[in-house]
């Protein structure tokens, strides 16, 4: 872990509004951090070093289980340093790196190489997801037990998904015996022949559409196989109302969790009428009835948490006609602010549920962080809920700039992020200089 910034031995964060639904904390308090862990939460704490956080909110660090840091292979778009810096700037203290890189993360030597690079280059706790099958080609299983020994945290088919259901079933059975969680990208390629959601906007614009059934049938297959095999399955980027309902149906019947993304919660497919390649993403932006269904499922806990599917792309892959552009959005730096602005300030999601969905729940899934209770690792996010800011190309920390929120004014800004008590993001360095 990079320790470029100040590393206090003992620190008190004073007078922040501490909000952690997992520990029932909701009020102004002081938090003491010792040896990288939270050692005390209370009133009138004093420390050798103090950080005045009056007026700010303190949350458990956010965890993003779906990040594409493009390493190895496309370091021109993102690498571990820039991806983790972008994550830290968005308040994330942990992330899971997806395996659809070049080469694919399907061999133990690639995993161990990534794990070593993460130790040197990452600002946040980055975990490596290995591929579910060789080359993500849907033909041969990966050496899951060796991948796990090499340091893989989970396995995933993200990117293409898994075409043959028979192979998916075997992969889930094998992952279960390897004791690895599986993150699944649900997409039926026989149905997903288009580039945007097959709806009104696509019809009028003349863009080839993929129907919602492309996601829904694959989600149903994945859930049925999860129930049958007993594997620990996480369905990522749920984007339709029906898929969310299917996850709800299987909630009691399988060892399953699911996430949705900030963009599927805040944007709809009418953006594709701009024909701008920036707005191509997979799964595609959906109509508002799907967006609303996904939002309700997140609010009710049917969808467990939010993950960003942070997918950097070089500008030459986005400044193209929409159907030729690469699919994907940046996610880390705008996730909290976009959701706070649209859902919390819009009165549609309580702030506590958003904090749970970005911090507590994914932290529990990832096995570390996600809590401010005494003894927990000091993975923290300090946010100024009163600050409004405009998303601009040249102030993004990611190496790419394909954010669908470019030019949008958002409210709520991460001002500092700590991992194990180390300041890994400090937007207003002067203000947060530690006083001895």
């Amino acid at each position: 872990m990079i320790q470029a910034l100040d590393t206090p031995a003992d620190l008190v964060i004073r007078q922040a509004h501490v909000l952690d639904p997992a520990s029932d904390l909701d009020g102004v308090a002081d938090v003491r951090v010792s040896s990288g862990r939270i050692s005390e939460v209370g009133q009138n704490l004093r420390g050798l070093r103090e950080l005045d956080a009056d007026g700010l909110h303190l949350f458990p660090g956010f965890v993003d289980v779906h990040a594409h840091w493009r390493t190895p292979g496309r370091e021109d778009e993102e690498d571990i340093e820039s991806g983790s810096a972008a994550a830290a700037a968005g308040g994330f203290t942990g992330a899971v790196m997806m395996p659809n890189t070049d080469p694919v993360v399907d061999r133990p030597v690639v995993v161990s190489g990534l794990v070593r690079r993460v130790e040197r280059e990452s600002r946040v706790r980055a975990r490596v997801s290995a591929a579910l099958h060789m080359g993500l080609a849907g033909e041969r299983l990966t050496e899951m037990r060796l991948l796990k020994e090499a340091g893989a945290f989970c396995v995933s088919d993200d990117g293409p998904g898994t075409r043959p259901a028979g192979l998916l079933r075997n992969a889930l059975l094998y992952a279960r015996s390897a004791n690895l969680p599986v993150i699944l990208h649900c997409e039926d390629h026989a149905l997903s022949t288009g580039v945007v959601h097959d709806g009104v906007a696509a019809s009028l614009a003349g863009l080839p559409g993929s129907p919602a059934s492309a996601e829904d049938t694959a989600t149903a297959t994945a859930l049925i196989l999860a129930a049958e095999t007993g594997a620990k399955v996480h369905i990522t980027h749920v984007s339709t109302a029906l898929s969310a309902a299917l996850v709800g149906f299987f909630g009691e019947r399988a060892y399953v969790t699911a996430d949705t993304t900030p963009h599927h919660l805040t944007l709809t497919d009418d953006l594709v009428s701009t024909l701008d390649g920036l707005y191509r993403v997979n799964p595609p932006l959906r109509p508002d009835h799907d967006r609303a269904g996904v939002e309700m499922a997140l609010r009710d806990g049917v969808l467990d948490f939010v993950a960003t599917d942070h997918a950097p792309h070089a500008s030459e892959e986005k400044e193209l006609p929409l159907e030729e552009a690469a699919p994907g959005f940046l996610g880390h730096e705008t996730a909290f602010a976009a959701l706070y602005t649209d859902l919390v300030l819009g009165g549609r999601l309580p702030l506590a549920r958003l904090v749970e969905a970005m911090g507590c729940a994914p932290g529990r899934w990832a096995g570390e962080g996600g809590s401010l209770q005494v003894g927990a690792v000091a993975d923290l996010t300090l946010v100024d809920l009163s600050e409004s800011w405009t998303v601009q190309r040249d102030t993004l920390i990611s190496r790419s700039s394909n954010s669908p929120y470019l030019g949008r004014m958002l409210t709520g800004r991460v001002v500092a992020t700590m991992v194990g008590g180390n300041l890994v993001h400090d937007r207003t360095g002067a203000k947060f200089g530690l006083r001895t």
Binding site: L204, G206, P208, G209, D276, G277, L320, P321, L322
Partner: protein, 305 residues
């Protein structure tokens, strides 16, 4: 001089349509001479085209413009140069207008963001083909006796609407001109939300005639879509979605953007003579495109037209 791009007909008003068609009429009557003298028109075709390319080239030359043609073969386009690079290059070389054909929807709009030269969309993917709809209106109004005669006429658009950029320009253009439209296609060749246009959807040419269609606008069915997953067979398609002799008994007119698949959209035994507007459409293409090029470069302003 004010320039303007022609990317789509979605936002074109009735008065703008009338203005363009009036100018096209002036070109047809030889009342406009060399409005584009000293102008350079570039034809950038990223997709094969014979008819549209020839029509635009004639339109530009007859208006006195210099014409530079880039097509797939032997040009930078064949070498995989990007759309934006090509457009920026043409812009710096001094193009006064760029006519663009491209296989992806939105290409013309993207190009227009990277050049100050007006872009004329000559067809982009399934998106738009505005000059086709304009020449269709031009041919139709001439046959009916003037622009105002278009109002409340009944036109059925028949065939592969899903994949058709022609349909996506014809529908808004014809609606703005006051024409009543109906769509005729099987579910596999209709967009899922065809209802978004707010038009009736009919299930055969017979039904269209029963609905009172005075014009049967046939769309071309591409060869690769003729058998298999989208339609079961050409025989079944032509039986329900093709023009047969009986459909023309009450004086209905036939239009088609060309080239016609005989025996598919139009039965082999149909004699297209007085009932066909197809040759008129082709002829209207040149004067309409002259008008569009002239308006796009600002060589003739609205008032003068």
């Amino acid at each position: 001089m004010e320039t303007r791009s022609f990317l789509t007909l979605e936002d074109t008003s009735r008065e703008e349509l009338r203005e363009i068609l009036d100018l096209a009429g002036a070109f047809a009557n030889g009342r406009v001479s060399d409005p584009l003298a000293d102008k350079t028109v570039c034809l950038a075709f990223f997709e094969a085209s014979t008819r549209t390319a020839v029509s635009f080239e004639l339109a530009a030359r007859r208006s006195g413009a210099h014409v530079i043609s880039l097509s797939e073969k032997g040009s930078a386009i064949a070498k995989g140069e990007s759309l934006i690079d090509t457009v920026v290059t043409l812009d710096r070389l001094g193009a006064d207008a760029i006519v663009l054909r491209h296989p992806a929807a939105g290409a013309a709009a993207l190009a227009s963001r990277h050049t100050s030269a007006p872009i004329i969309n000559a067809g982009d993917g399934r998106g738009q083909h505005p000059t086709q709809a304009l020449l269709d209106l031009c041919a139709l109004q001439r046959s009916l006796g003037g622009f105002d005669e278009l109002s409340r006429r009944r036109v059925a658009i028949i065939g592969d609407i899903l994949h058709s950029r022609v349909a996506r320009s014809v529908i808004p253009g014809f609606v703005q001109a006051g024409i009543d439209l109906a769509l005729v296609a099987p579910g596999t060749l209709l967009p899922p939300d065809a209802g978004a246009w707010g038009l009736p959807v009919l299930s055969s040419v017979d039904e269209a005639v029963g609905w009172g269609a005075e014009v049967l606008y046939m769309l071309r069915l591409q060869r690769e879509r003729m058998a298999g997953a989208l339609i079961p067979s050409v025989a079944e398609y032509s039986r329900f979605y093709g023009v047969a002799r009986r459909h023309l008994q009450n004086g209905a007119l036939v239009m088609h953007p060309g080239p016609v698949n005989r025996g598919v959209e139009i039965s082999g035994d149909v004699v297209l003579d007085s009932s066909s507007l197809i040759p008129d459409q082709v002829a209207a293409g040149v004067c309409v495109r002259s008008a569009v090029l002239t308006l796009s470069t600002g060589a003739i302003s609205k008032a003068a037209a």
